[in-house]
Symmetry: C2
Subunit: 398 residues, 2 copies
């Protein structure tokens, strides 16, 4: 029996076991934004690796960052080293009323599983373990040395990862790293993603009064919500042009090789329009992959004053907005932060505070690297279709 | 013993009884914005009047509005009729963490009482009852016929009151009406307030997506929070100028008589600055009473997307803002609503919905009316200081 068939058989026979492991992992509400259930989740990830013969460490990060699970196992070919990256943290489950089943209780419905983290990224982690289990069961060993890095702050911009990597550089020397992203398109074509955008995530806040006031005094007292609305209107125009001076300075156009990949990549606009009930995409975008070469300024949340039912006549003393900027090659989040601060100051919004909640650089892999070719070949062998190579995706990875 | 002394003695002897009545009234969380505990509160107000010999009716209003308590009692002089206006509803108690004691549990602290409604307006209602009780105990009767109107929607703009008044016009013919407002200044000078501003309270809302999306797609998808921020920035400029065409058309300057009153009225700026921790008032206002002759556009609340701790990279599908406009003579809330709608449409914000939650006209009493003179004379007799007559206040009354 060819090895792949034996691997497939093993997977079919043991699928319920891995589903049980995924259920247990998703049951831990490891919401990094709130520092919830982080340590028990890291411990479980470590135990799952140890069960597979990995030597693991759960290493703390500086300044109360979430621990990083680091594991290593030897394989048949000791001269090749492969790294898997995953993260065990998840986004907050809100808004709760849109969940059809409890967010941390893995539920099977219509042939799919639903739980926070069942995709992005606990599901991917368990899938990789399943693949390794099957290969080891069939061949008796792992094919090469394997290094595993699972962090707990991906969803908040991995603030402590760079310093940790600096400290562990020698242990991270590998031939290739497989990241969490990738996917299969609707037409079952596998996708190989080469790059991800960077991120600057900030919370803007402004406080103008000792306490909320009655709005009969709105001639007399400043209003934090107005201050914030005006500040936001200076950041991006309704035509989506970001108005921070110098914001686009480091942005470069796609290279000729990237242009080649963009021509081959699907346009994707129709699927996105259908998913979100739109007649057209923002600014008439028709090529989704090309659009990712443009940076963004997004309001992820805003809040001030009375938001309950009916009316309350109040002047909000404080207001806040959460903003994320997706950055493209070769933008630097720290440079963008400095430019944002200067712009707000120059426009008269020195009272608007900026707290940086996440900062990551964009990252790119060479489209012609050997590992890209290898992954593409394997993809074609398994799926029977030539994979599409995407130069840059909309999201961010550390 | 002079009548006033006897009245004072009676009040001193019975103060704890009225405090008990106030405690019971404040215990009912009659939050009109949420339609909470409205009927039991109207019933209790009605019973409190009946206990004083009033013939009362709790009359429903159209379209599920909150009932109006209407009471009448005869007095010694049947040819004079005085109306008292109160409201039994209160504003929502949020933010709850700023309360030192439970909002619906009347608590005595540092010589004051604290509860939602203990001022504005349950406290004022009980004070009036106390005064009437004392006068009746001392003189055996009320001095004149008394009509009482207590409504349950003042805090949400009294939407059903105008239609009710149209239906009950004949029963409302009185010589004078005493409203809920008034006060004593820090220097113990009593204030007689002649007018109140009008109000237009609207909720703006916009929905641009079938559901929230990941912000990696911010190049592709519209963002409801951005739509709302841009729409708001078109309503009022940072110099506080309201940019709705025609908004100021009906605004008139103070009359010569109002100018005279404004000159006599205290400026009040220092007290407001101290209360809210400010170095100056908005736009350098120094005369608080004069500022009330200018209309306002106030953001009372705004909300969209993720507002919890930390970061969540989301594109909000929906966003809302609550706005109140305080209107001055001779602005009309329905006219302002129409102009707001037209302005949003013309600026490309036809997708921003407007729900009217309250609409009231400004109201003024002639400074030279006999009842104003009478109230001023009584004020001087009681407080030993000539009352200050304020032409217009910042708030709104039905």
């Amino acid at each position: 029996m060819p090895i792949f068939d034996a691997v497939d058989d093993y997977i079919s026979e043991h699928i319920r076991d891995w589903m049980g492991e995924l259920r247990a992992l998703c049951a831990i509400p490891s919401v990094s934004a709130r520092h919830e259930a982080i340590d028990p989740c890291a411990e479980l990830v470590s135990r799952m690796l140890e069960r597979r013969g990995f030597a693991t460490q759960v290493t703390p990060t500086a300044d109360g960052g979430h621990p990083i699970v680091f594991g290593r196992a030897a394989g048949a070919n000791r001269s090749r080293k492969l790294l898997f990256y995953n993260h065990y943290d998840v986004q907050p489950p809100e808004p709760l009323d849109l969940w059809q089943s409890p967010p941390f209780d893995l539920t099977e419905r219509d042939g799919s599983v639903f739980a926070r983290g069942s995709k992005d990224d606990k599901g991917e982690f368990v899938c990789r373990l399943a693949a390794l289990d099957a290969v080891r069961a069939v061949t008796g060993t792992y094919p090469c040395d394997i290094t595993w890095l699972a962090e707990g702050e991906e969803e908040v911009g991995s603030p402590h990862l760079p310093a940790w990597i600096d400290q562990h550089e020698s242990e991270l020397k590998v031939d290739a790293a497989i990241w969490e992203e990738g996917g299969i398109e609707v037409d079952e074509t596998p996708i190989v993603r080469l790059g991800a955008r960077g991120l600057l995530y900030v919370e803007l806040s402004v406080k103008v009064l000792a306490r909320d006031a009655h709005s009969g005094q709105a001639n007399l007292l400043p209003n934090a919500a107005w201050r914030l609305a005006w500040a936001l209107a200076w950041l991006k125009a309704p035509n989506e042009k970001i108005m921070i001076p110098g914001f686009y300075d480091a942005v470069r156009p796609p290279t000729p090789r990237e242009e080649e990949l963009l021509r081959e990549a699907p346009k994707g606009a129709a699927e996105v329009m259908e998913e979100f009930g739109l007649k057209e995409l923002l600014g008439g975008v028709t090529d989704v992959n090309r659009a990712y070469f443009t940076p963004t300024c997004n309001i992820a949340g805003i809040g001030a004053g009375y938001q309950g039912e009916g009316s309350k006549t109040v002047i909000p003393a404080a207001a806040m907005a959460k903003l994320d900027f997706r950055l493209v090659p070769d933008q630097d989040p720290h440079d963008i932060h400095a430019k944002l601060r200067r712009h707000l100051d120059e426009r008269g919004f020195g009272d608007v505070q900026i707290e940086v909640l996440g900062a990551e650089r964009p990252g790119l892999t060479d489209a012609d690297a050997p590992v890209v070719k290898l992954v593409a070949e394997i993809g074609e062998e398994i799926y029977g279709k030539k994979p599409r190579i995407t130069p840059l995706t909309g999201g961010t990875t550390p």
